[in-house]
Amino acid sequence: MRFLFKTDYEDDIRLLPHSGYLYSYGTLLVLLLIAPFVLSSYLMSQLVFVCIYATVGVALLILTGFTGQASLGHAAFLAIGAYTAVYLQQFNVPFPVYFIAAGLLTAIIGAIVGFPALRLQGIYLVIATISFAFIVEEILARWESVTHGNEGMRVKTLQMFGTAVPRDGPAFYFLCLAVLILIIVGTLNLLRSPTGRAFVAIRDSETAARSMGINVSLYKVKSFAISAGITGLAGCLFAHKLSFISPEMFTLQLSIEFIIVILIGGTFSLHGAVLGAIFIVMIDPFLTYLKDDVPGMVAGVAAALGAGGERAAHIESNVAALASANGLKGAIYGIIIVLFVLFEPLGLYGRWLKIKLFFQLFPLYKRATFKRQKIYVKSERNR
């Protein structure tokens, strides 16, 4: 185990506490850079989705994880970013301009959504953000002169500096990766400066934050704006990746997927956004596998256990019907959320930290190390 001997205030400020981090993150970066030349095009496409989901995850972490304001409206922010980008693209606006414009417009709308949210807490805030998402979905479907309604909009190939960046090429992957890394570094910078600490203060005790001189309303709106803005940027990339957008892509289910990203990854660290994004992107291939292979396997097992041919076929068709049932995805999402909240509230990143600590302290690891204890009741009356 390594002990950090701090001799300078810089030791608390720098992003990589010691050289070990430099090597591990450096290795990760090198692997990510050579990935497009090694991995299959299917895995590369998944990796691009991981980058985009992780970007949204970071955005949601700022709002939910660090400021403590829940949101089920991030699909709407993603949609606003996507539609802004595609709308501007029609008029031959260059990519950097409409990319930034998508972020800015979404940030402004995020700030506007933030204002009513100032008076709402907990479940009521969730309801408000869901209603916002429904309103946006409805506007996208009805405002046909701009959004082409339910017909959707075709996204032209991305043009940057006069060259085309096709959505399944390595250049587009590098673009998404660069955006993700820049956003993560920016967010880390924010978290180690007064604004980030103000966010955390608001999450843990608004009363105390106020009496320490933090303008709670202003910082909540800031948090909403930053979170929405980042989601808008991700929306622009999302539109390019899909090459076609329509209102039914940005439903409540997508917002829930984003919540799953941070719940499963871990809500206390940016690592959680990336781990959660990997998890959610890998669920789809897993479900496809479930549909294709599991019925046959179950039937095989049944046959081996002595079921007759007709009976095995019957079992196979039943399992196949179950695996391709409508709403199976939603049910699995629900189960995953419940299980994680109950048994792994710190998420995948929390589990990783526990495993790491287990080996560092072996054989002295205590299970209670990560238990949160509450030894007194906080007064609610000053809220």
Partner: protein
């Protein structure tokens, strides 16, 4: 003119008069204690000063400025810090970042500068940490610097809350029951720190306290409250001998 002044301060919840026409003044550099039985309105006065509640009537002045309409976050910017009766720390953050939040009123960096972590932000951060380190040293909090609040015992949290208030370099500090939940030794430590605050840091202290030995040791003046009204005001000895105060505590 007094340093800090409350004039006819009232807080009514419907028919309940939690604070009823209370007037008092605090001189610069003094330690004033507010005592009284449970429900006398002591904490309510603090909540009125720090603008968690809006007064029904009355005005509050600080350094000859009317601060009755200043928003809650503005009070801290003026240099009035406070602690809470039921500790209000930022549970899932480290001691260091709790204390750094106390420095918030001194931070002047802009959002875009922070996103890029420009050299100016880095300089400001180091300065904040240097100041925080002074407070950590003063209150002997070195062993807990990087610990999460949620794992610390009550007595330590109490001191951290005091430290957080001190980190904002206040001119006036409001301590809401600084000794509640502390054992005799910890209370002793607290009394030294309160006197240090006055003599070394030049901070004016207003505190709500039940522990009369602590009140006697540190206060210059005492106000006794009951049912939202001022019963007596004066030196600790005078107030304790006042017949109304004895009646309020012992029942008449």
């Amino acid at each position: 003119m007094s340093y800090f002044r409350a004039e006819n301060l009232s807080l009514h919840f419907g028919g309940l008069k939690a604070v009823d026409a209370v007037s008092f003044a605090v001189e610069k550099g003094e330690i004033l204690s507010i005592i009284g039985p449970n429900g006398a309105g002591k904490s309510s006065i603090f909540n009125l000063i720090s603008r968690i509640y809006n007064p029904t009537s009355g005005r509050i002045f600080f350094e000859d400025e009317d601060i009755t309409e200043v928003p809650a976050y503005g009070i801290a910017r003026l240099g009035i810090a406070r602690t809470f009766q039921n500790i209000e720390l930022f549970e899932n953050a480290t001691v260091l970042s709790n204390l750094l939040v106390g420095r918030h009123r001194h931070s002047a960096t802009r959002l875009w500068q922070e996103l890029l972590f420009l050299p100016g932000v880095r300089r400001a951060e180091k300065e904040h940490r240097r100041r925080v380190e002074h407070v950590i040293e003063l209150l002997d909090l070195e062993p807990y610097r990087d610990k999460l609040i949620s794992g610390l015992p009550y007595g330590v949290r109490k001191v951290i809350e005091l430290a957080r208030a001190l980190c904002s370099e206040p001119k006036l500090i409001l301590l809401d029951e600084p000794s509640s939940g502390l054992n005799v030794e910890e209370t002793d430590g607290m009394s030294f720190w309160i006197r240090d605050m006055k003599s070394e840091l030049g901070i004016t202290v207003v505190m709500v306290e039940h522990d009369m030995s602590l009140v006697n040791r540190v206060s210059d003046r005492v106000i006794a409250l009951n049912y939202g009204r001022v019963l007596a005001m004066g030196t600790p000895g005078e107030v304790q001998r006042h017949p109304d105060v004895i009646a309020a505590y012992l029942g008449a």
